[in-house]
């Protein structure tokens, strides 16, 4: 009995170590001459990081003569804190952190900064005045979404489908929208007939919400500001059931293949696209710059960003790109989506990019 238990334990331990040694996408040891840059991913299984971000970061670092090392926190705050220490122990001179939790990672970041290791907060905010914050300008995303919808429907009944309440981005986006439509709301040209947060940005929930708003307003909805593509898909399904798809403008962001197809079909008005490769490249180049000079304020193309936590953060705020029916060729040319997928079901000749 005892031996069986020991054998089982040993087998379990072997499985766990085996899994760990294959899971982390490591990039080899420190180079002899180059600067070592450590990247702490929060969760490598998400499509975006592996497919678009990491290759761009790697390429930018390689081009600058640096060495890339990385590990994966598997969505755990505690693991990420350990991972950051590991990267420092492996000789990382600059850290790039995609935070699982911007608050929980702060002690590790503060420690690294005080030891003279510059930190780049990748895509997600870390409230520490010493870090370089690299992201897409989320307030601008909200402005872009509202701008296109406002252009299509300057007056009328608006529904606003917001993302997860616990996610600061939902409020950044809403803030950007307010800058565009605020005046018209005040003057009464725009009436907000429905506005809600959506748990976990769930498309199916957004669909139910939209159905209820349509019912409550007897279909008198003229435009929908949806904060992302997934929820826009739910909204469009609800509109389709009422025969309103393509007649009511809908916004979104992320450049999802299904959403871009909806833009081509005319069901979605605008899809704000954030090319993850640009962010990866910018962060990689900034890391190389920080190898040479540790002062984050001297990194090129930065601005001062007033964070919600009242910090002034040196930031790289990349400009997203609004995609409408007229400039779909941008995503095609960038190799973001194939023409088959983009143009599935599109009537020939109705969209220039699908011609």
């Amino acid at each position: 009995m005892f031996y069986r238990r020991v054998a089982a334990l040993a087998a379990t331990a072997a499985i766990i170590t085996g899994a760990c040694s294959t899971a982390a996408p490591s990039g080899g040891g420190g180079g002899a001459t180059g600067c070592t840059i450590g990247f702490s991913w929060n969760n490598y299984t998400e499509e975006r990081w592996a497919k678009w971000d990491e290759p761009a970061v790697k390429a930018a670092i390689a081009a600058g003569g640096g060495t890339y090392i990385s590990n994966d926190a598997k969505s755990s705050e505690a693991t990420q804190a350990t991972n950051v220490e590991n990267l420092i122990a492996q000789g990382a001179k600059v850290l790039v952190i995609l935070a699982q939790n911007g608050t929980a990672i702060k002690p590790s970041v503060t420690k690294a900064v005080s030891e003279g290791i510059p930190v780049i907060a990748y895509d997600r905010l870390i409230e520490d005045p010493g870090v370089l914050y690299a992201t897409f300008d989320n307030v601008e995303v909200g402005r872009m979404e509202a701008r296109e919808i406002f252009k299509a429907k300057p007056k009328g009944n608006y529904v606003i489908i917001k993302g997860n309440k616990a996610d600061a981005n939902a409020d950044f986006l809403r803030g950007g929208m307010e800058e565009i439509i605020g005046a018209a709301v005040k003057s009464g040209d725009i009436k907000i007939v429905g506005e809600t947060y959506t748990d976990d940005w769930k498309p199916a929930l957004a669909q139910t919400e939209m159905e209820q708003f349509l019912t409550a307003n007897n279909n008198k909805v003229d435009a929908v500001l949806s904060e992302n593509d997934g929820m826009a898909g739910g909204v469009i399904a609800a509109l389709k059931a009422q025969g309103l798809a393509g007649k009511v403008p809908v916004s979104g962001q992320d450049g999802d293949a299904a959403a871009l197809n909806n833009v081509a079909l005319g069901n979605q008005t605008v899809d704000v696209w954030k090319d993850a490769r640009l962010l990866g490249k910018a962060a990689g180049e900034a890391a190389i710059a920080l190898c040479k000079d540790k002062d984050v304020k001297k990194v090129a193309n930065t601005v001062q960003f007033d964070s919600p936590g009242k910090n002034k953060l040196t930031s790289i705020l990349l400009k997203p790109q609004p995609i409408t029916k007229d400039n779909l060729n941008v995503v095609l040319d960038a190799g973001w989506i194939t023409k088959d997928k983009l143009c599935q079901g599109v009537t020939a000749g109705s969209v220039p990019a699908c011609a």
Binding site: E46, K165, W201, T215, G243, A258, N261
Partner: protein, 443 residues
Amino acid sequence: MTEASAAERPQRSIGQRLRDPFQRVRGAAPSLEVDTRLLGMLAALAVIWIGFNVMSGGLFLTARNLWNLSVQTSVVAVMATGMVLIIVSRNIDLSVGSILGFTGYLMAMLQAIWIPTTFGLGFDQPYTWIVSLAIGLVVGAAIGGFQGFIIAFGRVPSFIVTLGGLLVWRGLIFELAQGQTIAPMDKTFSLLGGGPSGAIGAIPSWIFGLAACAGVIWSLWAGRRRRRKYDFPLRPMWAEVTLALGSSALILGAVWVANSYPWPPSLATQYAESHGITEPPGGLQIPTGIAIPVLIMLGVTIVMTFIATRRRFGRYVFAIGGNPEAAELGGINTKRTIMLTYVLMGALCAIAGAIQAARLNAGVTSAGVQSELDTIAAAVIGGTSFAGGIGTIPGAVLGAVIMQSLRSGMVILRVDSPIQDIVVGTVLVTAVGLDALFRRRTA
């Protein structure tokens, strides 16, 4: 419990009857032999509906909103019917949301990518929807059977196995297509999700309603004949007639509501144009009728009720839940029975996944997140007891309707989602708490 008594009292076990406080109510109710708990839930539902109707200024009790509500309920209701059997046999299934997500995503991949592109057979083939659905069902049943095998034969607690499943199947969704949204669905397949073209129209709805009435009357008559055969006390004739009339009125009323929701004007206009009909002033009025997902839900409810109350398998499940040791000693193959409940649950998750994907017209990674909680809550609000051995399928469906009524009513009243969660959570605990209190008081 013998087969005969099971047939006589289809809905409840003996233990429940002994504990059921409402059995002591004097007057006419006992001779109707209607589950008083079910009546209590109908009353609660009526209070909720009327309350929302008043607060929303008459928006809630419109044909359109009730039609929406019926479609929105179908996903959770389908899974709740299976969850009843799982909980009755003193187990739990936390993985249903993830199985829904996985099978739904798999079916989406099949019809949007694999069949048309990978195998090069093209989009919207006549067989696409049925092949996707069949594969989804088989995979769902297999997943359920796999988990059930570990639970029943491996003797690993169901909480642990299905907690593992919750993580594994959700994780596998990402492995299938790195988290992309898969759209659009096959045209025939998307009918499974409803929408005016996914409803059966006025005349078939009436036919369906009349058939349902005939079924109710036939089952009352058959029950009476069976009782006479075994020398059981009969219901008074007036009670039989009241039951027949009452159920028929409910069924035909529901059909009437579904038929008084006309097609949305812009769809009706499109239809008129494509069929060369000149629209009359005020627009063409096409009755929508019962939605296909609702038909699926009703079909599942009837089949599951039949399995639970009239089949040996179903009675075994209740017997195991009432007393597992006695059931095993009594010669029931408990392991096989438990495993089968999970096979059934997995297949039901796949049906729910198909409805969900069809309704959204897309396969998304977040489909079914947290719906295990809604499903368990629906079963429990519907009177299923965690102590095992007690629970009814129609009760669970009604529980799902109550949950969805609360949610969609609050959206109409523009209550934000965190507050919605607070209300639904409070209602869940209050409902089960009150139920337990009454049982203790009167036991």
